[in-house]
């Protein structure tokens, strides 16, 4: 399938899944929808994830000879599997390039899904990940629930307006855009894309063909709907902030007359959601981007209606993740979905690492993936800190592994979005 299917289509197609009679999968479907998970204790969730790991390993072993042999070869007993076993199974994402995913897919997977691919900006063959319709549905629901938790409230069906500073076609390429698109369809919130792709000429890459759609951006700025959700790479936020902050008095007055901005009022419950982080590109530090934006954007508290500094959320997601990690600036660090097992490996020995406030190699296990056993190492260094929230831990993004450390993976999808706006390392 070349285009990301609609949420409505997915709902229908997911009902045809051959796995809906499998108790493991039906349990996952229920858990993906379950918002009460966000109220559970860390130990409850930790036990739940261990149960899911065990039943997941059994599911994959009975559905694939590859996994049956792999578990035997690694000496992993599905009935007694623990976190240490996940570390043995984690696949470095470099191995998912090209057709790398094929050997991990179970033969009986549901067909008719969608394949995400990384941008290939690293010059290497892109990572490609297949998602069945059922997985896409679970991904949408689970991400939406996580979003609402980190956002701090429910997004009401059909209320509000969103702008994504990207072209719509990118939802067929980048996970971050696809996550947002499907989640907003699920919540029936209208999404405008603030950029267009100019027609293809020769081998011009996608990212060189993006141009702003001023009409849609203006529609978003002028809209009185609430809440207004602004999605972008950090570079996009920086760009908009710079443009508005640099206006002379006359231009400012003209903009104010035409658009009612600056400031750009995101209204009650308004939020800016970024994806990717700077990844070493020439954009300011994240806190500078936030400070700049808070001088140009304004928002009101979703409950009291009083003016508040514009809330900022950031998404850490990549082609391989079914659910992302989200943070809320100044409120919480990155936190995963309650079902996702995020663990760190010691970057010197690659053994599981439990210490807080120490840099570790990020590894993720997502039990909601049922086409392949989704345990992978995306190539990011993060730090975990204790938390009194449901997960018991939160994560701070530190950096990408460097080439010197033997790393050559694609950037996370948000980072790719930033590259789309960058020419020769300078923001245009």
């Amino acid at each position: 399938m070349a285009s990301l299917p609609s949420y409505e289509w997915l709902e229908g197609k997911a009902r045809e899944s051959r796995f809906l009679n499998d108790p493991h999968v039906t349990r996952l479907v229920e858990l993906a929808k379950d918002k009460s998970l966000f109220e559970k204790s860390p130990s409850y969730l930790s036990n739940l994830r261990r149960d899911l790991l065990r039943s997941s390993l059994k599911f994959f072993a009975r559905n694939s000879e590859f996994y049956e042999k792999l578990l035997a070869n690694l000496g992993i007993d599905p009935d007694a599997a623990e976190l240490e076993d996940l570390a043995k199974l984690a696949v470095p994402s470099d191995l998912l390039r090209g057709d790398g995913i094929k050997r991990f897919l179970i033969p009986s997977r549901d067909e008719g899904g969608f394949t995400f691919r990384s941008s290939g900006t690293s010059g290497k063959t892109p990572v490609r990940i297949y998602r069945s319709p059922l997985e896409l549905l679970l991904m949408t629901v689970a991400n939406a629930n996580l979003f609402e938790y980190v956002y701090g409230g429910e997004l009401k069906q059909g209320e509000g307006l969103a702008l994504f500073l990207a072209a719509e076609e990118l939802k067929n390429h980048l996970n971050f855009v696809a996550f947002v698109d499907l989640a907003l369809q699920y919540k029936k919130i209208r999404l405008l894309y603030g950029m267009d792709l100019v027609p293809e000429s020769g081998d011009t890459p996608l990212w060189k063909r993006l141009v702003p759609n001023t009409k849609r951006i203006a529609e978003f700025i002028k809209s009185r709907e609430e809440p207004k959700l602004f999605f972008s790479a950090p570079a996009g936020v920086h760009l908009v902030s710079q443009q508005f902050a640099g206006l002379g008095l006359l231009k400012k007055a003209l903009y104010k007359l035409a658009l009612g901005a600056p400031p750009i009022d995101l209204g009650r419950g308004g939020v800016i959601v970024t994806g990717g982080g700077s990844k070493g590109l020439q954009v300011p530090e994240y806190h500078v981007i936030v400070e700049e934006a808070r001088r140009v954007f304004k928002a009101e508290d979703k409950d009291t209606g009083g003016e508040v500094p514009v809330p900022f959320m950031d998404v850490l997601g990549m082609t391989e993740t079914l659910t992302a990690l989200l943070d809320n600036y100044g409120v919480m660090h990155k936190i995963p979905h309650p079902l996702q097992e995020v663990f760190l490996l010691d970057p010197k020995t690659y053994k599981p690492m439990e210490q807080y406030n120490k840099d570790g190699l990020l590894a993720i296990y997502d039990p909601l993936a049922v086409s392949w056993l989704e345990v992978f190492i995306p190539g990011d260094i993060v730090r975990q800190v204790p938390s009194d929230r449901y997960y018991g831990r939160e994560f701070i993004y530190v950096r990408r592994l460097t080439e010197e450390e033997g790393w050559s993976l694609q950037r996370a999808c948000g980072g790719t979005l930033e590259e789309l706006m960058i020419r020769g390392g300078e923001i245009q």
Binding site: L70, P92, L95, P347, K348, E405, G406, W407
Partner: protein, 477 residues
């Protein structure tokens, strides 16, 4: 701060040096237009050398060894050892071992044995006509000037051809690797103390040329060279060959290309002693020698291969700690490779100690490394203390692995297997002997001795003194 890389040549004229910036180094390259006239005059230096009694030449070389030992014992080389350990990544203990070997390479008795076995007419033919049969005489003449382009980290490999080139009477230019140049220059530095009229004092230049050096290109394309001896692989080998193809003096091109070692062990030798021998071979020089075993066949069932792998693991753990590395981190690329092998169904035993990062892969019938996706592979150069043991049913299958190795993507850039190290029963050794013609290997030695050479051994199928000389045959009646 830039580091200067000087030239060693007692008669060097500062005007003959070009300072070339190369990364954080300033290379003192001998200018081609200064060197070419010197090379044109080299035949007279070579004649002087040829007229110098062999005993005197050998004594001078032996003296280099003695001075080296003196410096070693007095601790004058300690800093050099540390620098070399840092630059190569080799353990200090290995550098100690290598520095001890230097005097052996320069030992005159060993050199005479090499010359005797290598040259028609023996060592004697280097200084006079030797009668092979009534009325038939031969004299060995230098084929130089000789240019030796060395590579690699260790210092012994460039010393052997250089010493033999000088002893056989050649004006010699050695371009070692940037890593070992300082140590190599230190070995030959006492030559500058010889009297001015001693031709040996004027017989050797040791200097570095960058890969893209204009001076080196001119030398290869235009200089009156007799022999070019290239140690290394692609793309340098082909580039040098192309440049030499237009040289009007038609120098001989002798290549010692990249190769590797292969071990064969049978069920009868699955024991701790064999494991320890293999472990030592894997640790010495971090498998960077052309003879270090990097793949092994175990003739026996898989469970026996695993049993041997466990013995090897314990030996590597023990011996590896004696030769511990400075590293604090296991390379991520190695982790990716190990994980890929495990996912491919291979049994992997691996250390988690970055200072002793050994890895043993056990596969069955065929190489698991050969089947991995390209993105997962780690070039041979980076696979250190790493071996794949393939369980095979018989000697024939073991030999098939040797034949297939150059096509294995994990061995990209390697020409072929140079050395087979064996721990086998006599019947299996006989089978290897019968198949030598199709294996193309150059050496078969007992496991644990791949890195050892006797003076009688040729290098990659050729006696080096032969490469640097030609034989004149005289029958006047």
């Amino acid at each position: 701060m830039s580091i200067e890389v000087p030239v060693f040549y007692p008669g060097i004229d500062p005007k003959g040096i070009e300072h070339v910036k190369h990364e954080d180094l300033v290379l003192h390259e001998v200018k081609a237009d200064w060197l070419i006239p010197l090379l044109k005059a080299a035949p007279s230096t070579q004649q002087e050398l040829a007229n110098t009694p062999l005993k005197q030449r050998l004594k001078a070389i032996s003296m280099l060894g003695e001075e080296w030992l003196e410096k070693l014992e007095s601790g004058k080389l300690s800093r050099l050892k540390e620098e070399l350990a840092r630059a190569t990544g080799y353990p200090l203990k290995l550098i100690d071992l290598e520095f001890d070997f230097v005097a052996e390479v320069l030992n005159q008795e060993n050199l005479v044995r090499i010359l005797d076995v290598s040259l028609t007419g023996g060592a004697e033919s280097l200084e006079r006509l030797v009668e092979l049969a009534p009325g038939e005489r031969v004299r060995t003449m230098p084929a130089g000037p000789v240019l030796i382009i060395g590579s690699g980290n260790s210092i012994i490999p460039p010393l052997i051809p250089t010493t033999l080139s000088i002893v056989t009477g050649n004006f010699t230019i050695l371009r070692p690797s940037i890593t070992n140049i300082k140590a190599v220059q230190e070995v030959y530095s006492p030559l500058q103390n010889l009297p001015n009229d001693d031709p040996l004092r004027r017989a050797l230049i040791v200097g570095y040329y960058a890969h893209e050096s204009r001076n080196l290109k001119t030398l290869l394309e235009k200089a009156p060279l007799g022999v070019v001896n290239y140690w290394g692989g692609e793309p340098g080998r082909t580039l040098v060959a192309h440049m030499l193809a237009v040289n009007p003096y038609r120098p001989r091109f002798i290549v010692n290309g990249p190769m590797t070692g292969f071990a064969i062990i049978d069920s009868e030798h699955v024991d701790q002693q064999t494991a320890e021998r293999l472990a030592l071979e894997m640790i010495l020089y971090e498998q960077q020698l052309c003879n270090s075993p990097t793949q092994a066949a175990l003739i026996g069932p898989r469970h026996e291969a695993i049993q041997f792998a466990e013995m090897l693991a314990s030996a590597l753990e023990k011996i590896g700690q004696e030769y511990s590395l400075q590293s604090e981190t296991l390379p991520y690329a190695l982790f990716v490779l190990i994980r890929s092998l495990e996912l491919a169904g291979a049994k992997v035993l691996a250390s988690t100690d970055p200072r002793n990062p050994w890895t043993i892969v056990v596969s069955e019938n065929d190489s698991a490394l050969a089947k991995l996706p390209k993105d997962a592979l780690l070039p041979l150069h980076y696979r250190r203390r790493f071996i794949e043991i393939v369980a095979v049913q018989n000697t024939k299958e073991a030999l098939a692995l040797i034949e297939k190795l150059p096509k294995n993507p994990a061995y990209q850039g390697v020409d072929k297997v140079q050395t087979i190290a064996i721990a086998l029963t006599p019947d299996k050794i006989t089978e290897i002997e019968k198949n030598l013609h199709r294996l193309g290997v150059y050496r078969v030695v007992p496991l644990g001795e791949s890195y050892l050479r006797t003076p009688l051994e040729p290098y990659d199928g050729l006696h080096i003194p032969q490469a640097f000389t030609y034989t004149v045959y005289l029958r006047v009646r």
